[in-house]
């Protein structure tokens, strides 16, 4: 836990420097092609992180972030835009970044469910899939404006999730885990054997189109070609910012307190008037809504949905992001999503050994840093507020 008692607000400099270094590192890593370069960069990155942790620099950075969240969050947005501008032509890098942004939105949703309310959800990828299938169906058969499709995807994910409410509310711990695991397996098998939604063949998804501007065309401006993924990037970034602010405000409110209270001790919480059912439902639905929206947009980005995208294994990846990042800390989630999405993608030469290394990496983090990369600090309702 960070020392939140200090009356002196921390400086902004450590946060800005860390942000700058991280951005430069990402540009280098995303742009690197040669495997030797990528591996050296990864080793360098791990070394730098371990070294910084050893020197206690992390603490200063996280204090800086805690006290200047708005300003540093704004800088992070600028950094993301700069990154995208640098890679404006590079389709694949932009696709990766979009994947990171939307996966972050989904893990933010999981974070509300599990990180705050303690409601386990091992079917995150399934609800992501519900969103994606929603946009596939709506874009193909209806003329609902595509921007409206996104919240519809979220609502449908929340609705389908509410079918699980009864068992989820009644069970606890590992028993609750099995409910969502069963749902994840059921969902994928159902999609596979049911022809209406394309079966295992999946469905094509029409790309985003806002008032005649098709997101799937490259943008030619003054001799510069800008990748068609740029539109998706901007939209995903906006979505992530909105989700981030929402989750942040939720945490820093009485509702966040309620969720923490019921996660940590249901009996004590209900002795102080908490309606356990109401808040569990709220968290479960908000979480699925966020996951569904992210899925709906991702369906349009990928242009394709199929049952294999949304397996139990994918749900596990989402949960492992949550643990890696540090449960309950939105900043940690974004960082962990970057690691989990980008690193295996960059390590294509080790091809068949990727899963092995990934699994070993997660084991290492769980053993040596069980609270995640960026543990959640104590709640502060208004970061810069001092009594």
């Amino acid at each position: 836990m960070t020392d939140s008692n200090s009356k002196m607000p921390a400086g902004m400099a450590p946060g800005l420097i860390a942000l700058g270094l991280a951005t430069a590192y990402l540009v280098a890593l995303l742009g690197a092609e040669k495997q030797a370069v990528i591996i050296s960069l990864l080793v360098l990155g791990i070394g730098a992180v371990v070294g910084a942790a050893w020197l206690g620099l992390f603490d200063r950075v996280s204090r800086s972030f805690a006290d200047h969240e708005d300003a540093l969050g704004g800088s992070a947005i600028v950094a993301a835009l700069a990154l995208a501008a640098y890679f404006h032509e590079d389709h694949f890098v932009l696709l990766l970044v979009v994947t990171v942004l939307l996966t972050s939105v989904a893990t933010l949703g999981l974070n509300v469910q599990f990180g705050y309310a303690g409601v386990l959800n091992f079917a995150g990828a399934s609800f992501f899939g519900v969103g994606a299938y929603t946009s596939a169906v709506l874009n193909a058969y209806t003329s609902v404006p595509h921007l409206i499709v996104l919240p519809i995807g979220g609502v449908i994910a929340a609705l389908i999730g509410s079918m699980l409410l009864l068992p989820v509310l009644r069970t606890r711990g590992h028993y609750a885990a099995v409910v969502t695991i069963a749902f994840a397996l059921l969902f994928k098998t159902f999609l596979e054997v049911n022809d209406v939604l394309g079966g295992p063949q999946g469905m094509q998804v029409k790309g985003m189109n806002i008032l005649g501007w098709s997101f799937n065309d490259n943008i030619e401006a003054g001799g510069i070609t800008i990748s068609f993924y740029m539109g998706y990037f901007l939209l995903s970034l906006a979505l992530l910012i909105a989700a981030f602010v929402l989750v942040r405000r939720l945490e820093r409110s009485w509702i966040g307190l309620n969720l923490d209270a019921l996660r940590l001790d249901e009996t004590a919480a209900s002795c102080f008037g908490l309606d356990i059912t109401r808040w569990k439902i709220t968290a479960f639905l908000i979480g699925n809504f966020l996951i569904g929206i992210a899925g709906a947009l991702f369906g349009m980005v990928g242009g394709f949905v199929g049952p294999n995208n949304y397996t139990f294994a994918d749900s596990l990846i989402l949960v492992s992001i949550l643990l890696l990042g540090g449960i309950g800390n939105p900043w940690g989630l974004v960082v962990a999503t970057f690691i989990v999405v980008v690193v295996p993608e960059k390590l294509q030469t080790i091809q068949e050994y990727r899963f092995l290394l990934y699994a070993l990496m997660v084991i290492g983090v769980l053993l040596f840093r069980p609270e995640g990369l960026l543990p959640r600090p104590v709640r502060r309702y208004f970061p810069r507020w001092r009594p």
């Binding site: 068992p167 009644r170 590992h174 028993y175 099995v178 749902f183 059921l186 054997v193 997660v362």
Partner: protein, 306 residues
């Protein structure tokens, strides 16, 4: 339905249920002593059956041709090796995480499962391919109408029953069993009774993992084919079975295992238009059971101290 056909379905269901039950019992044992879910259990089963296969290949290379001896050697080697692996897992992955949230244990063992699975695939010779598993049991069979009663199935079922009865005996009638049950009841009391907590946990993990190896060999003998993915599926189903039965209860695990096998069989028989829906059906029933009985069919004895 034709009686012979019915008998055949029952036999299939029993074999399937026996394997699920053996896996589920392992989950329940681990949960009993440490309140953790060891999700790598299914993949320990895979490693166990590949160890047995490797033993067989090794013995054949040495010129041993007695089926019974080979089977005995396979069982001994696989069970001991997995028992040892189970102890290693408990000692270096599960115990260090005791103070962390239970989800961490679940995830670390899941990841370990991936490591084991990938290691089999990558490092066992041609590990990505399905492997033939020798049929070492007598293959005599009788046809009774549509029912093909095979001696090897009967032997395997009996062996499974024996193992479960033996386990019951061990838990209920021996000093070791008493110690395990004491630890499962309450760690602190067990410690004050002078029970070596760590030792008992390690032994329990060895026991459960040895069971998985046994189930792995049985799986190989039954299907005569093993592949690196068998554990993933068996692990998930075994876990679900232990849960619907009620964690911490051996009987619950056995009940859950046979129930799940029954659901799958009934799903195939009763859904003639699409037997592919049988897993959808089985998992939907699991969810419904959890809604109906949130702590499993055989309820855990929880007396929450307030």
């Amino acid at each position: 339905m034709d009686l012979g056909l019915f008998a055949q379905y029952t036999m299939n269901g029993l074999m399937l249920g026996m394997m699920y039950a053996l896996v589920a019992v392992g989950f329940t044992l681990f949960f009993g002593v440490l309140d953790v879910i060891k999700f790598s259990h299914g993949d320990v089963l895979t490693v166990g059956s590949f160890t047995a296969l490797a033993t067989f290949v090794g013995l054949s290379a040495l010129g041993l041709h007695s089926n019974w001896l080979a089977l005995l050697a396979m069982l001994v080697v696989a069970t001991l090796a997995m028992a040892f692996l189970g102890m290693l897992i408990a000692r270096y992955l599960v115990m260090p995480l005791r103070s962390a949230p239970p989800l961490n244990t679940l995830l670390i063992t899941l990841m370990l499962g991936t490591v084991l699975r990938e290691c089999v695939r990558l490092f066992y010779p041609q590990g990505a391919n399905p492997k033939p598993f020798p049929a070492l049991l007598p293959r005599a069979s009788v046809d009774i109408g549509e029912f093909n009663l095979r001696l090897d199935n009967v032997l395997m079922l009996s062996a499974g029953v024996l193992v479960i009865v033996g386990l019951q005996y061990l838990l209920n009638r021996t000093k070791l069993g008493l110690a395990i049950r004491a630890v499962a009841q309450d760690e602190e009391t067990a410690r004050t009774m002078g029970i070596n907590f760590t030792g008992i946990v390690l032994i329990t993990f060895a026991l459960g993992s040895g069971l998985a190896a046994f189930a792995g060999v049985m799986n190989g003998l039954y299907y005569n084919e093993i592949n690196f993915g068998i554990g993933l599926y068996l692990g998930v189903i075994g876990f679900a079975a232990a849960i619907i039965g009620g964690l911490g209860s051996i009987y619950g695990a056995i009940l859950g295992g046979f129930l799940f096998a029954g659901l799958q069989t009934v799903g195939t028989v009763l859904l003639p238009f699409a037997s592919a829906y049988k897993d959808v059906f089985a998992f939907a029933v699991v969810i419904a059971i959890m809604a109906w009985r949130p702590t499993g069919l055989i309820r855990e004895k929880i007396s929450e101290r307030v």
